[in-house]
Symmetry: C2
Subunit: 213 residues, 2 copies
């Protein structure tokens, strides 16, 4: 193996170990040393050497996925048939995640990793930066959604955006965890979860909203 | 202080410390010894002595809250004005949590504690057992909801129940964490969060559902 291939293999193995440990235990519960050990690296400083800080490591893991996710999203956004149909745009927000999880196969840790990362405000900011950098289709998706949404106060819009994010993440976590533990799953496939989420999130966005003081 | 008062104060202090540590770090990341220390107990075996296993400790924390939550839920269910109005029943599902969090004041850890506990299938089963044991109003709430819900496949019903649970938990976690960190919050009060959740969850339940293969 050439030197650059060896470096690349080491980095991939560290990223994989970090993703799994972060997903299972939480980002701050895991020391860089444990990641190096789980990746079979004799050198305990391997994470620092290859990635720098923990935030840089999280960024590298997010990037690896967001490139794949962007491919799915770009294809979906380009394939929208009726640009005035809210449900089609909601599907463009849901399927990049569920489709990516289906592509990852079994076992995956991505859903649980993202749930841990987005629960931390500083790390969540990193994932948003990465998404902005690597997801040119996100802008078209937002425009499409906004075109179909009812007129909402800014506060309600922010709130329902957060709800959408939590639903996609937590329902994916629930399915990924059930698959990992060999337990029963609520849906027979990731496609079925996407259908259920798309229906429900469309209902959530079109629900009447009560004025607040 | 009498002996039984001392025992009672020790138990309360251990429960408070355990709830905070579980909320911040996750149930399995925290050792009983750390809880004893955080509660200012010289005896490292205090948790084992007073509560037994970690599952017993989680059950005791859940019970302390579920008694308060039941009082709110029972009052709301008894006060339903139009039993055919889905939104009223959804409010009976949302407000016991948000109202309890408002009652706890600042700082609270309950939302983050519940998120950690319900993410673990074994611990989640404990909270459901506790809820069944301490929440007689839950049955009336379920009957009220079922009375108003559209006809749904069992799978869709289960799925939307899970979504409802995740929305209430995660939106409460987001607000509780923002308050704890002194950051901006999406809503100006727990009451506003309850209104937003009730609107959205009503929309989620009444959304048309696409048949699945």
């Amino acid at each position: 193996m050439r030197q650059d291939e060896r470096v690349s293999a080491t980095r991939a193995s560290l990223l994989g170990a970090a993703e799994r440990l972060f997903a299972e235990r939480g980002v701050y519960a895991v020391a860089n040393r444990q990641i190096s050990e789980a990746a079979g690296q004799g050198n305990n400083a391997a994470v620092n050497y290859h990635f720098g800080t923990k935030a840089d490591l999280v960024r590298a893991i997010v990037r690896r996925h967001s490139e794949q996710i962007e491919l799915i999203r770009a294809r979906l956004v380009a394939g929208v048939v009726d640009a005035d149909d809210l449900r089609e745009w909601v599907a463009c927000a849901v399927v990049p995640t569920t489709g990516h999880l289906a592509d990852l196969g079994h076992p995956s840790w991505y859903a649980r990793f993202i749930a841990q990362v987005t629960a931390d405000p500083a790390l969540y900011a990193i994932t948003k930066e990465e998404a902005a950098a690597t997801a040119p289709s996100m802008r078209a998706l937002k425009e499409g959604l906004n075109r179909c949404l009812p007129d909402l106060d800014a506060g309600v819009y922010e709130e329902r955006s957060a709800m959408t994010r939590h639903l996609i993440t937590q329902m994916s976590v629930e399915r990924e965890r059930a698959l990992a533990q060999g337990g029963p799953t609520l849906q027979s496939s990731w496609e079925d979860l996407a259908t259920g989420l798309t229906d429900a999130i469309t209902g959530l966005w079109t629900a009447p909203h009560t004025p607040r003081p």
